[in-house]
Symmetry: D2
Subunit: 346 residues, 4 copies
């Protein structure tokens, strides 16, 4: 079995924090040894501090762990962070400076030039930034690695497949995002029942900038962003889990519909512990992907793509879907940590 | 008060048929004298034949009307049709040939070159096609007039405002459509609960072609379509009434954000009986329009537009919303009939 | 038209406060002259202080009213209160002591022996308590009148009909309550989507005690409670507006099914401004009442009752429904004020 | 591993049929060898005949199985039936007569005197009826065994616990049932969105009669029904899976709250393949059980009970919840088959 890394979770009582705990049940490489949350929770046993919102009950292995304040030191080797962006910037730096690998799901550092914005299947080479990061920030052992925004996660993988083969000129994406993306209590039922919300604070700018960095090129100790432009309109819809992205894309090179589908279906997965069998699953059923039916594909780690067609205005269009709190948050962070171990960085 | 026109409703027991009845309560110009529905219903009193799905109970003035088969003659001066497209083509022609003005909400004739696809505020001059239609089809008194697809209705008005002032180059629209658009029983609750459906049969082609005809130019007894292209991806979301359209648009001429907003807000309404005070209502609240809060603007006859912004890939983007069974169906047909009376055609 | 009373609303920015404003639009007897809300809102124009959650926009006549702190004096003749129970007790007394008639929707005073718990159609004679109240509390001009809990409002009227004719031995009620009953933001969408909540804080005790007072007898300056017992289990369901009550009842005297239905349908409405045509509407359609279809009966002021049947364990069972923020809250308070004017008390 | 029984599923394309297939994936004792469905599907590969509505895709092991007509012979040792009651009576008898053990989820035979209505943990001794059944009906090898209605399944287990210890005098149950209970397409989204339905065709009589047979006593080759009376009001609510029952109960003997909770928590599970660790799980969290959070307890085979309290009208009240298509349908039938094997009857 080998050594298990001892992990701590920052923001452990939140929606994503709960997913971290759920996904780490029975994990071969990690065991949870520390849970940190806001002052209000600190000191209480986790089972008392947390209003558990996932299926079933709080797992036995964390019920009695006393919640710690969100500051170093914590009794662990690695820190997973799902802090709100208001506190993430300062706190995550403090942990990195104190020597912890910080695997962050927060948005604070994603666009910092020296911080990898990582999707292991796509841009593992961006880990080269860590050297730059340590030098620039004066970190000794610690560092910060981030994963993309949950909405970006739903369409960056098929874009990567197309970008690699044909180049991308421009992208228009319209997202229909699940309520769990807003955390708990998050979206009021009075707002979303029989309704669609045309606005998610801060979301459109994230969706319009992250993909270019993810698909950028690592060279000379930095990442040069891909040069396509992205237009994003982001909506909240009455779905529990699973972000749907409606995408149009212009390619740099000519590609047939078969080329496009092949590029997606052949894009390889990895063989890390949490890697799904298929990174991108293509469906040609007319009415798929659907969040309720497809969000759990690959245990929530697969991106499902369907309705790939030539478009009247762009070259192609398609619909992509991912589980926003698994692949779009906690699951991606865990996969990032597995990659770091695999690469010998942790 | 003047003469009241006696109207018949084809497909009277369906979702749109029920809206016709509801909207015609207390109407100054129309009284319902005939209700026609499928053979299964024919002969029964309406109250018995119809599973009423709108708020409240079946209005008193139609409860006892005996449902007729869907064929001429019907005891009325005007026929409103909300027939399924499978039967509409043949049946509506039969009524027109028998001398009835047929005001149709069906898709069958919308794209026929000699049939007006009408939004009174936008293209009343397309009524000139009726002369062509009568000659071509050999109708004496009767004729067919159509209103647009419910999804098209949500974004054609702001497009018209922009088209008139600046010209339109291309449009990308992503719709989030209400379940009432599918009629009753329509969408299974098993399909839409906690879900989004990425496919509505036959919808994307309609949305990609109707706007160009609506915004076309009437000259020489025919309509020349506007020459922009439209890309449409259509989704069903868990909303009862109200279609939301997420739109990007490239203009032919340069326009500032102020120009764009002004073009929309200044687009005039009419003064027909069912005309809303504002044809297009502009909102600058960040989180509007929303279907539940805005679908009933102007008693369901106003198009609400918000989130108008410059776009990274297109010139502008915005969100538009209309009530799909009022302005997007029965209400539009009624407005068309009011226009025809106003123009002296009926 | 006569004099219009100037009314102030306490808790004007909340869900029920918004309903007060909506229902008072165009009211013949009342005009809104003061709006009071929590300190955070005080000083701002109402349109800025309030996150409006009802259909449409904030009515013009209140947009510019500056929100006042919740304390006397307010520029008005009558005060409607929809304060949270935590602050209602002290604040409402302060207003009553300062000479204002306080028409309260809060729970604080409902069960106080000297405070009428009023349903005008049922127990207008309980207004006799006001004399007692003034003496006991030393109020000069002001007083406090309350309306029932929103869930009680759904089944107390049919119970009153049965109680008056046959006497009631015991009642078992199971409620399925709408999310608007919890205010805004109220119930998290993460809690109610694809779910039922078996617990509403503080609700079951209210439902188990208020009906006996409402149906009590006024004599000797006090109300003697009706002597039946009530068992209540209260659930929150995924419905926007409209509380459904599933009721079994044992009667003191024998009654046929026809007797029971007749007692309900014959129970008279009043002729106050907001009185519905029918206080209780009986339906024999097997699948009614339904919240979405029946909550707006009588403009939200009618109680709809259906599925009245003999029961295996009790004498009878039935399903009752009312609009929880209209008849169950703001509408009831307004009706109480209309009654007070009619009786010459205001 | 031992021999695997070859099973056929009648009604294989329906909601419950799909659950059978899902639950039999990787089952140690059963392998699916035959799928039967209505004539429309017969002859097609299952993947083509079935509109799969459960999470993920149709399992590989059944995709290519050709759907058979619903009549004997079928290539299998055991038949699971989830036929609509209209066809179940005749068809299930035909299979039993042809020698197949018929494990039925249909309602047709549940109340027949010679047919076990089985919950393995409660009344395994009712299998003694099979001898009677064979004699009476002239079956040689085949027979029919049934499981309860899905709503009954949610509250019969806690009732059994109380009945065994204290005896039951009477029961009042109000159910809030999930949409999946109506199959597919089943409940129209137009009916259940923002709504509660107070009527489920045929449901209340089933709920009022099945529990007495389940808790009846097997003696002299027949089952004497328990002598308590049941009152049921059944509602459909906007929940995907999971029936909630709101229950009041009068006991024959005095019992403290502790006694009542203990009776439930101590009620033993079995050790069949599909047996959950706990047959009844008791929770004292104020806001549980909830369908979304608790329906999957024990992989959908556990009944979760909470909010057990003394009642004003009855002795006790509680809320019980079960997964209606697992424990309330396919899972129960599979458990019945496992019991039959365990008892040597198959």
């Amino acid at each position: 079995m080998g050594k298990k890394y001892r992990v701590g979770i920052l923001g452990a009582t939140g929606t994503v924090g709960q997913r971290f705990i759920q996904l780490l049940q029975g994990h071969q490489q990690f065991e949870i040894t520390a849970l940190a949350a806001s002052d209000r929770s600190a000191g209480k046993p986790y089972a008392e501090a947390c209003a558990w919102k996932l299926t079933g009950s709080i797992p036995e292995n964390v019920r009695e762990i006393a919640v710690m304040p969100i500051e170093p030191p914590l009794d662990c080797d690695i820190v997973f962070s799902s802090l709100p962006s208001t506190v993430a910037r300062e706190t995550e730096e403090a942990f990195a400076r104190a020597g912890y690998p910080v695997i962050s799901n927060s948005s604070s550092y994603r666009m910092d030039e020296d911080v990898p914005l990582l999707i292991p299947e796509i841009n593992a080479d961006h880990l080269g930034l860590l050297e730059t990061q340590r030098q620039k920030r004066g970190f000794s052992k610690g560092f910060i690695v981030t994963n993309p925004n949950c909405a970006v996660m739903s369409f960056a993988p098929p874009l990567a497949a197309l970008h690699r083969k044909f180049g991308i000129e421009s992208v228009v994406v319209t997202t229909m995002q699940a309520i769990s993306g807003a955390g708990y209590p998050g979206v009021s039922s009075m707002d979303i029942t029989d309704n669609v919300l045309p606005y998610i604070a801060g979301e459109e700018p994230k969706v319009e900038t992250e993909a270019q960095k993810i698909l950028g090129t690592f060279a000379n100790a930095s990442v040069e962003k891909a040069d396509f432009s992205v237009s994003a309109q982001c909506f909240r819809v009455n779905v529990l889990d699973g972000h749907t992205a409606s995408v149009r894309v212009d390619l740099k090179q000519t590609a047939t519909l078969e080329d496009v589908v092949e590029a997606m279906t052949e894009f390889p997965s990895l063989s890390l512990h949490s890697s799904p069998e298929k990174f991108i699953e293509f469906t040609d059923e007319p009415s798929r992907p659907q969040p309720r039916l497809d969000r759990d594909n690959g245990k929530g780690m697969t991106i499902t793509v369907g309705r790939v067609f030539p478009d009247n205005v762009f070259d192609y269009r398609f619909v992509a879907l991912s589980h926003n709190t698994v692949r779009g948050a906690a699951g991606s962070a865990i996969l990032n940590a597995e990659l770091l171990i695999d690469k010998g960085i942790i």
